[in-house]
C-alpha cells in the first residue's frame, strides 16, 4: 500500500486480515470515503466484468481454433438477434432461429451419442479463454470411451436450455453445454458446464440438469471439471437420469489458507 502525500488516508490496522478472504476488507478511508486507489481498483474490476458481458464473442476465431484441432463445428444462433434482446428475453435465448434450424436439419444425424454445445452466455471472455483448452481434454476422452459425437455446436446469444433442441434433433443421450457465466467482479471469465441426460426440447427443465460452475483461473481447473463431468456421465448412464437426483460426489478441493478457524474466539 502506498502512502499518499497529504496523509489524508486512514489505513486500517487490521488490513493484513485480507489474507483470509477474497473479500475487499481493510481498504482504509479518506474522511469516511473510499481512498482513490481502492475506488479505481473496483472500477477496473467492474470494467472487466462489463466488457465480458458486452464485447461479443469472436465466433470466427473460435471456429478457426477448433478447425485447426480438426474438430468439426457448426455455427448456430438463438432467436435473440441483439445483445440487448438477449439480456431482456431469456425465452428467445433458449430457441434456435430459423436459419439455425435449417442448418441442423440439413445435417445427417445418425448414431450420435453426445452433443456438445458452446454458447457465449453472459461472458464472452469465459468462452474465449476456457472453451478450447477444455474441449481439447473432453473430446479425446469421450472418443476413448467410444461415444459418437455430433459436430460441436457454437451458439451465439444462447442460454443453457438451447442445448435441449440440439440434443433432441440428434437424438443424443448426453448433452454437454459450455456457457459463459454471469461475471462477478473477481471472476469476469467464469465458465459453466451444464449436463443433461436425454435432453428434450420444451420438456427438460433446470431440475433435469447438473451444473459444474466456476471454471476459471482461480476456480475449478479443467482437469477437476472433467473429473466431475465424467463422474456425472457415468452416474447418468447407470441411473438413466440427470439433475437433482444425480449427486456430484467428487470432493471439492478449494484453496484454504493456514488459518481456517474463527480467530475471534479463544
Amino acid at each position: 500500500m502506498t502512502q499518499n502525500k497529504n496523509n489524508t488516508i486512514a489505513y486500517d490496522p487490521w488490513h493484513h486480515l485480507n489474507q483470509l478472504t477474497p473479500a475487499r476488507i481493510g481498504l482504509g478511508r479518506t474522511g469516511m470515503s473510499l481512498p482513490t486507489r481502492a475506488n479505481l481498483d473496483f472500477q477496473l474490476a467492474h470494467a472487466l466484468a462489463r466488457d465480458s458481458v458486452n464485447i461479443p464473442l469472436d465466433f470466427k476465431k473460435l471456429q478457426n481454433k477448433l478447425d485447426n484441432l480438426a474438430y468439426i463445428t457448426l455455427h448456430l444462433q438463438s432467436q435473440a438477434d441483439s445483445q440487448s434482446t438477449y439480456l431482456q428475453r431469456p425465452d428467445l435465448g433458449r430457441l434456435l432461429n430459423d436459419y439455425s434450424l435449417n442448418e441442423l436439419t440439413a445435417k445427417e444425424n445418425l448414431n450420435v451419442d453426445v452433443v456438445i454445445v458452446v454458447a457465449d452466455g453472459l461472458s464472452s471472455k469465459a468462452i474465449e479463454n476456457h472453451a478450447v483448452p477444455f474441449l481439447h481434454l473432453l473430446v479425446p476422452t469421450l472418443k476413448e470411451l467410444d461415444y459418437q459425437l455430433a459436430p460441436i455446436c457454437l451458439v451465439k446469444h444462447g442460454r443453457v436450455a438451447i442445448g435441449d433442441a440440439i440434443a433432441s434433433h440428434y437424438k443424443a443421450k448426453l448433452c454437454i453445454t459450455l456457457i459463459g457465466e454471469r461475471p462477478g467482479l473477481s471472476s469476469p471469465d467464469s465458465m459453466g458446464i451444464y449436463f443433461t441426460y436425454q435432453a428434450q426440447a420444451n420438456i427438460s427443465t433446470d431440475a433435469d440438469r447438473n451444473c459444474i460452475s466456476n471454471i476459471h483461473a482461480n476456480g475449478l481447473s479443467y482437469k477437476q471439471s472433467l473429473t466431475k463431468l465424467l463422474f456425472l456421465i457415468k452416474g447418468a448412464e447407470q441411473h438413466k437420469l440427470s439433475g437433482v437426483n444425480l449427486k456430484d460426489e467428487t470432493p471439492n478441493t478449494s484453496l484454504e489458507n493456514q488459518y481456517s478457524n474463527n480467530f475471534l474466539l479463544p
Binding site: N18, L27, Q88, L265
Partner: protein, 462 residues
C-alpha cells in the same frame, strides 16, 4: 368498466389486473411477461383510469382468485375494515392527494396500515413520482425490536454481510471484524451460506452466536438458509436468532420456493419459543424482489411490482424484524437498468412502509445490468432520504460469494456523514463504549485496533 378516451383513442382495460399492469412504469420484466403497456400513451391512459378506481374495488375484485391462492385469502381475510373505514370512499387518485397532504401524519398512517391491502398501495405507487414516494415513505415509521431497536427517526441500520465463497470460518470472521470496526451490523449479522445444508448452517450459526455473546454485541444473527433447514437447526437446539426466508406474492411462486403460510407459521412459532430477543420478539427476516413471481412462472398476468407488494402481505403476517427488497439482484430481464432499479427500490420501500413493514433495501446490481456505482449512489441517497430502515454492508460493495455488487461499509458512513443518520441506539452505545465511534456519529481517527478486538486480530501475523 375500465375505459377512457384520450387523444381520440379509446382504451378499454378488461380487468383490474390488466389495468394495473398497463399503468405500471416501464419495466423489462413486464415486457417479458407480455403484460406491459404497448406505448407511453396507453400507460398514461391506464393511469388516468386507475386514478378513478375506488380503493374498495380491490376488495371486491381480487387480482388473483381467492379460491386458488392462499396469499389472496390472507389479504382478504386479514383486512381490517375498521382501519379502512377512514378512507373507504376514496379513489386511488384521491388517496395519492391525501398521502401527500399535511393531514396524513405519521400517527394516521400507522393507524391506517392494517386497513390497506398490497394492491391498494401498489396502485397508488403507480401514479406517484419518485419525490412523492420519498415524501410519503418518510412520514411512515415502523419500529421493530430483537436485541436492539430498529427504525427510529434519524437512524439507519446495516446488515453486516460477511459472505465467503467456501464458508471458511476465518474468512467470515475477517469480514465481520472489518464491518464491526466500520460501525456496521446493527440490523443483523447475516450470512448467505455457500451451501444450503444443515451442517454448514449449524456451524455458521454457532460461529455468529459465539461472536455476539463473547463481545456482547447488541445485535442478532441470521444464516440465510431455507426455512426448513433453519427449522431443523432449531429442533437440534442450535442457537437461532432470526428465521430467514425468501417470499413472493402468489401461492404458486411461494411453492416454487418450497414454502407456504403454514410452514412459515411453524417457523415463526419455533423461533418465538426460543425467546432469544432481549428488547423485543420480532424474529423473522424476509427477502423479496420484483420479478420473482414471473421467474417462477407464477405471476397470474400481474405486473411484477403488484406481485412484489403482495409478498408484503405474507411478511406482515409474521411481524418481521427486517424485510429486505433485494432490488437489483435478479438481473436485467426484470429490471433493465439503473433507472428501473432505482424506481423499483423506492416503490418497494414505499409499499412496504405503508403496509407497516420494517423495510430495508439491498441496493444492488449484477454485471449484466445497465447499472454502475453511480446508479447505486442515487438509490442509496434517495433511499436514506425516504427513511429506509436498513441497507446492506458488504466489504468494498463486492459480494465474493453471490457475485453481485451491493452497498459497502463506506456507503453507510457516507449516509451518516451526509444526513446525520445514526445506528440503532443500543448498537451505537456499544460502538462508543469500545472506541469504534465517537459521540458525533463518526469513526474515531486512531491508528490502533480497539482493545476489544486487538488480541484476536494480532493472532494473525501480518
Amino acid at each position: 368498466m375500465y375505459k377512457t378516451t384520450t387523444q381520440h383513442l379509446n382504451y378499454h382495460f378488461k380487468t383490474l389486473a390488466n389495468l394495473m399492469a398497463k399503468a405500471t412504469p416501464a419495466r423489462s420484466g413486464d415486457y417479458l411477461a407480455g403484460v406491459a403497456a404497448s406505448n407511453n400513451l396507453e400507460r398514461v391512459a391506464a393511469q388516468y383510469v386507475l386514478a378513478d378506481v375506488p380503493l374498495k374495488q380491490f376488495l371486491i375484485e381480487p387480482l388473483v382468485p381467492y379460491e386458488t391462492d392462499e396469499v389472496t385469502r390472507l389479504i382478504i381475510d386479514d383486512h381490517d375494515i375498521t382501519a379502512f373505514a377512514a378512507i373507504s370512499p376514496t379513489t386511488v387518485g384521491d388517496f395519492r392527494d391525501w398521502l401527500l397532504s399535511e393531514d396524513a401524519t405519521t400517527e394516521k398512517l400507522s393507524a391506517l396500515a392494517p386497513g390497506l391491502t398490497p394492491e391498494m398501495v401498489a396502485a397508488v405507487s403507480k401514479i406517484m413520482r419518485i419525490q412523492d414516494l420519498i415524501l410519503v415513505s418518510k412520514k411512515c415509521r415502523v419500529i421493530t425490536k430483537f436485541r436492539n431497536t430498529l427504525g427510529l427517526e434519524n437512524r439507519i441500520a446495516t446488515r453486516l454481510q460477511p459472505n465467503h465463497p467456501t464458508d471458511n470460518a476465518a474468512g467470515v470472521a475477517a469480514s465481520i471484524i472489518d464491518g464491526l470496526l466500520y460501525g456496521c451490523g446493527d440490523a443483523v449479522i447475516g450470512i448467505n451460506p455457500a451451501t444450503d445444508n444443515l451442517e454448514a448452517t449449524a456451524s455458521l450459526l454457532h460461529l455468529l452466536n459465539d461472536v455476539i455473546e463473547r463481545y456482547k454485541i447488541p445485535t442478532q444473527a441470521c444464516i440465510l438458509a431455507h426455512v426448513t433447514t433453519t427449522l431443523k437447526a432449531i429442533e437440534q437446539k442450535i442457537p437461532v436468532d432470526l428465521v430467514f426466508q425468501s417470499i413472493a406474492g402468489t401461492q404458486k411462486a411461494n411453492e416454487s420456493f418450497g414454502i407456504n403460510l403454514k410452514l412459515l407459521d411453524e417457523a415463526h412459532e419455533a423461533a418465538l419459543s426460543l425467546n432469544r430477543g432481549t428488547v423485543g420478539n420480532n424474529c423473522m427476516y424476509f427477502e423479496t424482489g420484483q420479478g420473482s413471481a414471473l421467474s417462477a412462472n407464477a405471476h397470474h398476468g400481474l405486473d411484477q411490482q403488484t406481485c412484489e407488494a403482495r409478498a408484503y402481505a405474507v411478511a406482515r403476517k409474521f411481524k418481521p424484524l427486517l424485510v429486505n427488497t433485494v432490488v437489483g439482484f435478479i438481473g436485467p430481464e426484470y429490471l433493465y437498468d439503473g433507472k428501473q432499479i432505482i424506481r423499483a427500490g423506492l416503490e418497494d420501500h414505499f409499499c412496504g412502509k405503508l403496509l407497516g413493514l420494517p423495510m430495508g433495501c439491498d441496493i444492488c446490481y449484477t454485471n449484466h445490468a445497465e447499472a454502475d456505482q453511480d446508479d447505486m449512489d442515487m438509490l442509496l441517497s434517495t433511499f436514506a432520504m425516504a427513511g429506509g430502515n436498513f441497507i446492506m454492508g458488504v466489504p468494498g460493495a463486492d459480494d465474493v460469494m453471490l457475485n453481485y455488487q451491493s452497498t459497502s461499509f463506506h456507503d453507510a458512513l457516507y449516509l451518516r456523514q451526509l444526513l446525520g443518520l445514526r445506528p440503532a441506539p443500543e448498537f451505537e452505545q456499544w460502538l462508543i463504549e469500545h472506541q469504534i465511534f465517537n459521540k458525533h456519529n463518526q469513526l474515531r481517527s486512531i491508528n490502533t485496533i480497539p482493545d476489544i478486538f486487538k488480541a484476536s486480530v494480532e493472532q494473525i501475523s501480518a
